[in-house]
Amino acid sequence: MTLLRLVDVTKQVSLGRNRELSILRGVNLDVPPGTSTALLGRSGSGKSTLLAILGLLDRPTTGRYEIDGEDTSRIGGTRLARMRGEWFGFVYQRFCLLNHLSAQENVEAPLLHRGLGRRTRRARAREALDLVGLGDRRDHRPGQLSGGEQQRVAIARALVGQPRVLLADEPTGSLDQDTGATVMTTLYDLTKAQGVTLVLVTHDPVIAQRCDRIVHLDRGTVAA
């Protein structure tokens, strides 16, 4: 059973003057539901681009991307946006929190696009912050939180919409080793507990080891 499937996916970007750069070259990948997958590779191997395609942030140049058996190339822009919001939660290397909003408001932010009432949004955001252990910091702004706390707010934000898949792009890349380990524990535990599929980009084999499966990327292709 496959939740996400990539078939011969390529991604090329134009460099101008008829020059193109191939980032992904014929990638095939199956992601079963409820599992954790680590995309491991050096810088420039195409990990983040692959993650962007998986999260519907980008489209492949060629090839097919299926979500739950549905070919995404046939889905229009509006539905694709809704799917992006409902299916996926994102955790980024540099947290990408909105500095002018409190932790609570940052966690609520994805729910503002889901047609939920204010009370429901607040309750769910509080619940998510409690899950990551930051229930008492909900009124704090990102600038008043440590790096590890900011990433935990980002995890709460990614999970608050109850996504089917959580995509994390080097979530510990901006953190020290101990804080990174704590954040990863939070990430693994919560995704396992909620049955969320995890796809994780990292270049750290230790972090990748904790996943159910490791996919090595090398110069735009799946190495093993």
Binding site: S48, T49, L51, A52, G55, L57, D58, G77, T78, A81, R82, M83, R84, G85, E86, F88, F90, Y92, R94, C96, L98, H100, L101, E105, A109, P110, L112, H113, R114, G115, G161, D169
Partner: protein, 396 residues
């Protein structure tokens, strides 16, 4: 649909809160333009009202005809008779008539001062039905028979001549035949010349003094009939009564039509100035919108990753500008509501018909143009914002 709009509004409000100083400056640039529009429209309206009001006071509202009577031995009796006859012409149209003897060139003494340029107009109280003179002090003519004829001065005559308090003494004619009048009140008649209106009812004894110097007219007004229809009716009345030979002429005297072009030109000039001010505000928003787009691209990509569609992102950008526009318009309304009446009091007509206030139309126009200018300025940044690549969030 409404919930989606509410969500966009909430996000837009967060965006406005994020950059308070920048939005304050944007609002200020809009505020200047909107304030100009409100003041121009409100002030322009007041000027227009003043012009129309003065025109109505001086020559009557549309349609008013002056029926001039040819010289007759007993002009006063003829005037009353003609007024009665001509009132039939508009009896079924809520029309009004008023008789008047204009006695220019009569020597008048007020408090010992000879006022050679004072215009003396013998009339009946109905004149104020045709020309609604605002009463500045005292009372208007009553038409009641009195021993001493009653007069009402216009504000120019009141200010220029040394009227004494209470019953002022006025002497008309030669020193051998002085006629004392009682000053009953003062009105604003929109004119620049010193004038007194004397009640016909008490003027019988001294009207003969005027001899052939006076010009007798009856003013006929109909709020519903046009010039040609009213003229036709007046001529029919003359003919039927068999006294057509006593009429010197019939002419339209209200001048609102003549002012129409002048008012339209004035309004166009005012609008052009307001449009220029708004253009500046709009370009300011465009400039700030485009300048901030780059620094906002991360936030916009993040919103897209949450599931926002391109039109929603554009809507958020536009709503942000609209929040600023509404805030600017509200502040402009408050300022205009204080400034305009003060300016009108300082530079406006001396005897306004009512207290100067900011018209509701000016407020509504201000709000609309503020939102319109903000929309025009926000459109290009909003379209660009909708095109921000979502995947760029991965490279932050």
């Amino acid at each position: 649909m409404m919930r989606r709009f509410g969500e966009s509004l909430a996000i837009a409000w967060q965006g406005v809160r994020r950059r308070p100083l920048r939005n304050l400056l944007t609002a200020f640039s809009l505020l200047v333009g909107v304030l100009a529009v409100m003041l121009i429209q409100g002030g322009g309206g007041a000027v227009r009202d003043a012009i129309v009001r003065d025109s109505v006071l001086q020559s009557g509202s549309a349609t008013t005809l002056q029926v001039s009577l040819t010289p007759q031995p007993d002009r006063l009796a003829n005037l009353t008779e003609w007024k009665g006859l001509l009132s039939r012409a508009t009896a079924d149209q809520q029309g009004r008539t008023a008789g008047m003897l204009v006695a220019d060139g009569v020597t008048v003494q007020v408090g010992g001062v000879i006022a050679t340029d004072l215009s003396v107009r013998l009339t009946d109280p109905d004149l104020r039905e045709l020309r609604p003179f605002p009463l500045v002090r005292g009372s208007w003519l009553t038409g009641d028979p009195t021993v001493a004829p009653v007069a009402v001065a216009n504000t120019v005559a009141w200010e220029r001549l040394p009227w004494s308090a209470g019953d002022a003494a006025l002497v008309i004619g030669t020193s051998r035949q002085p006629v004392r009048l009682r000053l009953a009140g003062v009105v604003y008649d929109g004119g620049d010349l010193p004038t007194i209106y004397v009640d016909l009812a008490g003027s019988g004894r001294w009207a003969a003094v005027l001899h052939d110097q006076a010009i007798a007219s009856v003013y006929v007004h109909s709020p519903t009939l046009g010039e040609s229809a009213l003229t036709q009716r007046v001529r029919t009345v003359m003919t039927v009564s068999g006294r057509a030979d006593e009429v010197g002429g019939v002419q339209r005297v209200d001048r609102l039509d003549q002012y129409a072009d002048q008012l339209a030109t004035t309004q166009r000039v005012f609008l052009a100035i307001a449009a220029l001010s708004l253009l500046v505000g709009s370009v300011g928003i465009l400039n700030i919108g485009l300048a901030t787009l780059r620094e906002r691209s991360d936030e916009l990509s993040l919103r897209r990753s949450f599931g926002a569609t391109s039109p929603e992102v554009a809507r958020i950008m536009i709503l942000e500008s609209q929040i600023v526009a509404v805030a600017a318009a509200v502040v402009a309304m408050v300022i205009a509501a204080v400034v305009l009446p003060a300016a009108l009091r300082a530079a406006g007509p001396e005897y306004p018909l009512g207290p100067p206030t900011l018209p509701v139309t000016a407020m509504v126009t201000g709000l609309l143009v503020s939102c319109g200018a903000a929309l025009a300025g926000a459109l290009a940044p909003a379209i660009r914002a909708a095109r921000v690549p979502i995947a760029s969030i991965m490279r932050v």
